[in-house]
Symmetry: C2
Subunit: 412 residues, 2 copies
């Protein structure tokens, strides 16, 4: 039985998250399937940032650090992320970039296993995580090693030598989802520390860090949390490590008494020691607005819808574009996917440019991946129908062969 646009509209009518779409300022005639690269603009973010600039910065000036609790923003925003990732509010801070948070948590993790030297990761990890590990390993001296194995070899590579298992839960190219509970347990069985990057998880579906026993985690503010371009990232440290975990970026915001201006560093107890410099208030404000949109969202609805959107996308591509050469790169089972679907095609780059020219915005990841992010708060089932209709037109009309679609941009 074939799927139709009315079927998709019916799914939208039954969607408990459909009402959230109006909270976003989506452009007209655009189908936005790139929320895994930059989340859409929450209308609330524009209002809040305007208020913070005009009233707080402009009128209350320096007093705002106390008056509007700017100083508490990293912990307050972190506390709002906590619910989405299965953490306690006092275990999460919004701060710095994902890269820097990898550095901090990875170092803390290595310090907890001083007798071991190997960081284990997989080939599908996001490069900046691996780069930060390389930089840290060089800094610590030659005896540390980053061991990068193919995806299916992690379990066998987890030996008693491993200090830290560092993985990104969702593969940024294929959307394949790691089994966080099983891998964390496998790491712990070998006394390794488990560090998770939730860049493509937080805000897309519920994560259960504490349920899985994760030790450390980091993640991104500008993808499914809709925090705006270059939004602050987040950092999670399990409460059981709060007394012992240490990171080497000794900034005044991690000091026990930042405004005592002592000459010696004394780390503040708990998660605060993972802060470094002065928090970026404008960016934190936009991120907090994005998070406030999740306040009344049932996280089980997020999971159901992100799976259903992906299932629909896959089914429609197979129904509407048989023989197109598009090969599914994502797991077929929703339970094994994050909130995206990806397809491989040798002409992936120009195909994606042709789609973008039609107003369907996904992105391309080398060498051949067309990637479609499915943000459950603002993507509709009808969007998926229309996106696949455009994809069908691009392929049928060979639109991607036009020379202008082959030009590479600085950012892809």
């Amino acid at each position: 039985m074939s799927l139709s646009l009315p079927d998709c509209r019916e799914m939208d009518s039954a969607d408990p998250l459909a009402r959230h779409r109006d909270a976003f300022a989506l452009p007209e005639r655009i189908i936005y399937l790139d929320g895994n690269s930059l989340g859409a603009l929450p209308k609330l973010a524009a209002q809040r940032v305007h208020d913070v600039i005009s009233r707080q910065w402009g009128q209350d000036l320096i007093k705002s650090w106390n008056l509007h609790d700017w100083i508490g923003a990293p912990a307050r925003v972190g506390g709002k992320i906590a619910r989405l990732i299965g953490a306690k509010p006092n275990e999460v801070m919004a701060a710095d970039s994902t890269s820097l948070n990898v550095f901090k948590t990875l170092h803390a993790a290595l310090r907890l296993r001083p007798d071991r030297r190997i960081i284990l990761s997989d080939e599908a990890n996001f490069p900046t995580d691996l780069y930060m590990a390389q930089g840290l390993a060089e800094l610590l001296g030659s005896s540390h090693e980053i061991r990068i194995v193919p995806l299916d070899r992690i379990a066998t590579a987890l030996t008693e030598e491993i200090a830290v298992l560092m993985l990104t839960e969702v593969d940024y190219r294929t959307g394949r989802l790691h089994d966080m509970a099983a891998l964390t347990k496998a790491a712990h069985d070998k006394r390794a520390i488990a560090l998770w990057d939730l860049a493509h998880s937080a805000g897309a579906f519920p994560v259960d860090l504490n349920g899985c026993g994760a030790d450390f985690a980091v993640g991104c503010g500008y993808k499914y949390l809709n925090g705006g371009p270059g939004a602050p990232a987040f950092i999670f440290v399990a409460e059981r490590w709060h007394d012992t975990a240490e990171q080497p970026l000794f900034g005044w915001m991690g000091h026990e008494a930042p405004f005592a201006f002592d000459l010696d560093y004394r780390p503040r107890p708990g998660i605060h020691r993972f802060l470094v410099g002065t928090p970026p208030i404008l960016s934190l404000t936009a991120l907090e607005a994005g998070l406030d949109l999740f306040a009344d969202v049932d996280l089980a609805d997020l999971r159901r819808k992100s799976g259903a959107l992906g299932d629909l996308f896959i089914a429609l591509v197979e129904q509407e574009l048989p023989g197109s050469g598009l090969v599914l790169a994502s797991p077929r089972k929703a339970a094994e996917r994050g909130s995206q679907v990806s397809f491989r095609h040798p002409e992936g780059y120009p195909i994606m440019q042709a789609l973008i020219a039609r107003g369907v915005i996904g992105d391309f990841r080398a060498p051949d991946i067309l990637r479609f992010g499915l943000a459950p708060l603002y993507v509709s089932f009808a969007d998926i129908w229309n996106a696949v209709a455009h994809l069908k037109a691009v392929m049928a009309g060979m639109e991607w062969q036009r020379p202008e679609f082959r030009r590479r941009a600085a950012v892809t």
Copy 2:
């Protein structure tokens, strides 16, 4: 001959920078002398951030990385800072926090002197710089040492053992200005690397990093550059070190080809390798607006006015408040001061709170410093008259004795 309010108004009439005041959204009935803690709001910043949020993020979404050159923002904004600090545009990046930039530059500097182990600084340096050095020294192993000496002992402490001389040009408490040219030369005479923190310099008066031969520098975006609360900081690496300087925070934005998604880190040539994670676009936008206000400012005017404002403040306190117990903590000579004046008083904290209650906003630094920042772009000579008149009233009426002025806030 005594100074009067009409004298001050005459100085304002003759001030070539007076026309810039209107570019800032200053609150009514407030005299803002805390621009060395948080610069005032440029009206342009509110407009620009609104545009970036509503049009670029909201409408152009992910395409803005190319379309509006978000990806080029750290270098573009850095290039605008360069003129203010005597650097070439390709030597400066806007990125991360001052603390993190200390970590990066200090590590790069230490790598250039592998045969040496000592970082030399003074007691007046800002604590977070010293903390970051402590964290880095711990990370590198026990053989590195941070040697902190009294201000007047730096020259004698500069020996052939010193790897890096790390100083903040302007003392955040007293406003005392280091002689950058002489100290950089003294460091180089001993083959030490010179690293300068320009937190209280950039935007307050012209700095001449290349004229002084400085090797590395860092500085703050939210003070005299008026970039907004927690604005990105900046980092300077002298061109002669571009081929050899290395920093250990290997993030994808420092990679030669960030969007090739290679698994191995290869640093991009030049200053770009000092970038780490995704740049915070909203915060960079506000900072860039602040910098654009300097485009037609003659930097010699900045220096003349910041000196004259301080001279006036000192003269008026001595004229209007004899025997008040306020002791000048700043150098008396303008050429030896940054753009602030500070006074000591045992009751400094409640005195400052009483002043703030009257709308004169300076700040307090432990143990006994009243600090007044004099941002030359928006502080007038009449402001100084009025500030001192309020200070006189606070002291004459013993207003500071009220209990509410003794309560300490989280941020001071």
